[in-house]
């Protein structure tokens, strides 16, 4: 094996999953070597980019074969009603005037950013009920864009917005909700809204996001976790397991305040919440990847590429 061949093998080891390269590395490297120009000593940048893209495609294909893709609709059907429930509760917080003795009374009209964000998510539920199914994903995309945009916009124009500990889990729930299937239970997201309106009194009993609200969001996390575990018990299959593992990220992000306190921060600040959010995202992503890799190894022979029909030495 010459240096060039060794370098191609090294790139394949770097980018491709183990099962696939075990089956195909020799074939792929052979084809690259057939295409090399005389005197070439290293893979070209285009070859590196091609192998990186090919490896990524193969990893996605492996994940799909493991059932991750099939699990997305299940996870989405739990994430979307949770998102619309929180949105409805948030909308109530923004719209219902609060009079207290520690500050001026708030009115919805002076918090247009919050109203806009939460209304966009409530509209997702309406779109899912009345519009053709392709509009649900478009509405989710628009609500996600609005939720993400409102953070820098608030900083630029100085308008108040819902706190990050509500917006960040909403973004995570929305990303998972993008996997919503074409024609699931059409009333499900609207049911989330219907629950969210009266639940706003429980989630945000002071009428503010802070205070009980920060902890009460973790009640939504517990309900979502219980629903995902129940799904796993009822179905007892890998689709439900992937759905549960996928939802662990949003569930953790809904619990930022209690998790932050559990990590030793007595009074969580923006910085401590950001550290907790990062830790939750990394931990839940790593857990999903480790489980996927273990699943891939256990089923290596099922999706390692085409089976060789016959072999002839020349």
């Amino acid at each position: 094996m010459n240096d060039l061949e060794r370098r191609y093998h090294r790139l394949i080891r770097l980018f491709y999953p183990a099962a696939y390269r075990h089956e195909r590395a020799s074939e792929i490297v052979g084809t690259y070597l057939d295409l090399t120009t005389p005197g070439q000593r290293r893979p070209s940048p285009a070859d590196v980019a091609d192998l990186a893209a090919g490896g990524l495609r193969q990893r996605l294909r492996t994940a799909g074969a493991a059932g991750l893709g099939a699990a997305m609709p299940l996870a989405a059907m739990l994430a979307l009603p949770t998102a619309t429930m929180i949105a409805a509760a948030g909308l109530m917080v923004e719209l219902i005037p609060v009079i207290d003795d520690i500050g001026p009374a708030r009115r919805g009209a002076i918090a247009p950013l919050g109203i806009g964000v939460w209304a966009a998510w409530v509209l997702v539920a309406v779109a899912h009920l009345v519009a053709p199914s392709r509009w649900t994903r478009r509405a989710i995309g628009a609500a996600l864009a609005l939720t993400a945009t409102v953070i820098p916009v608030s900083a630029i124009i100085g308008e108040p917005r819902p706190p990050l500990f509500t917006l960040v889990p909403q973004l995570a729930l929305g990303l998972v909700a993008l996997g919503i299937p074409a024609r699931p239970l059409r009333l499900l997201p609207l049911a989330g809204v219907a629950v969210g309106i009266p639940a706003s009194g429980l989630l945000f009993p002071t009428g503010f996001y802070y205070g009980y609200g920060a902890d009460a969001l973790s009640c939504a996390a517990v309900i979502l976790l219980a629903a995902a575990v129940l799904l796993l018990v009822l179905r007892n299959d890998f689709r439900a397991l992937w759905a549960l593992l996928t939802l662990l990220g949003p569930i953790g992000l809904l619990s930022l305040h209690p998790l932050s306190r559990a990590a030793g921060y007595r009074n969580p600040t923006v910085a401590s919440l950001a550290v907790t959010a990062l830790a939750v995202t990394l931990t839940t992503s790593a857990l999903l990847l480790i489980t996927l890799t273990a699943r891939e190894r256990s089923t290596r022979h099922l999706h390692a590429g085409p089976l060789p029909p016959q072999r002839a030495e020349t």
Binding site: E27, T31, L35, Q58
Partner: protein, 115 residues
Amino acid sequence: MVPDVETPLREPTFLILTALAGEPLHGYGLIAEVDRLSGGRVALRPGTLYGALDRLVDAGLVSVAREEVVDSRLRRYYRLSDDGTAVLAEETERMRRNVEAATARLRPLLGPGLA
């Protein structure tokens, strides 16, 4: 069984199936044939080619014909399956109808010299 493949086929996929309609080919042979069929316009790279072949094998449009070991390196030959032949014929017919429709509309604009 209906093959699990999205139609209309993308051009590289169409050209790979067309190349394999001639005879079984290995990776390098396929890249060279696609390059020739497209007049040098579609230059497949191995990472892209094998990704496409994996999808086509999964969809049942292509299968492995045989394997050889040349200079200690594995060489697989791929061939078009019956389902692959049917999909390629269907796509070719769809494109032929489009070409005929476009040709008929263009003839008054460009004159009888249009093929």
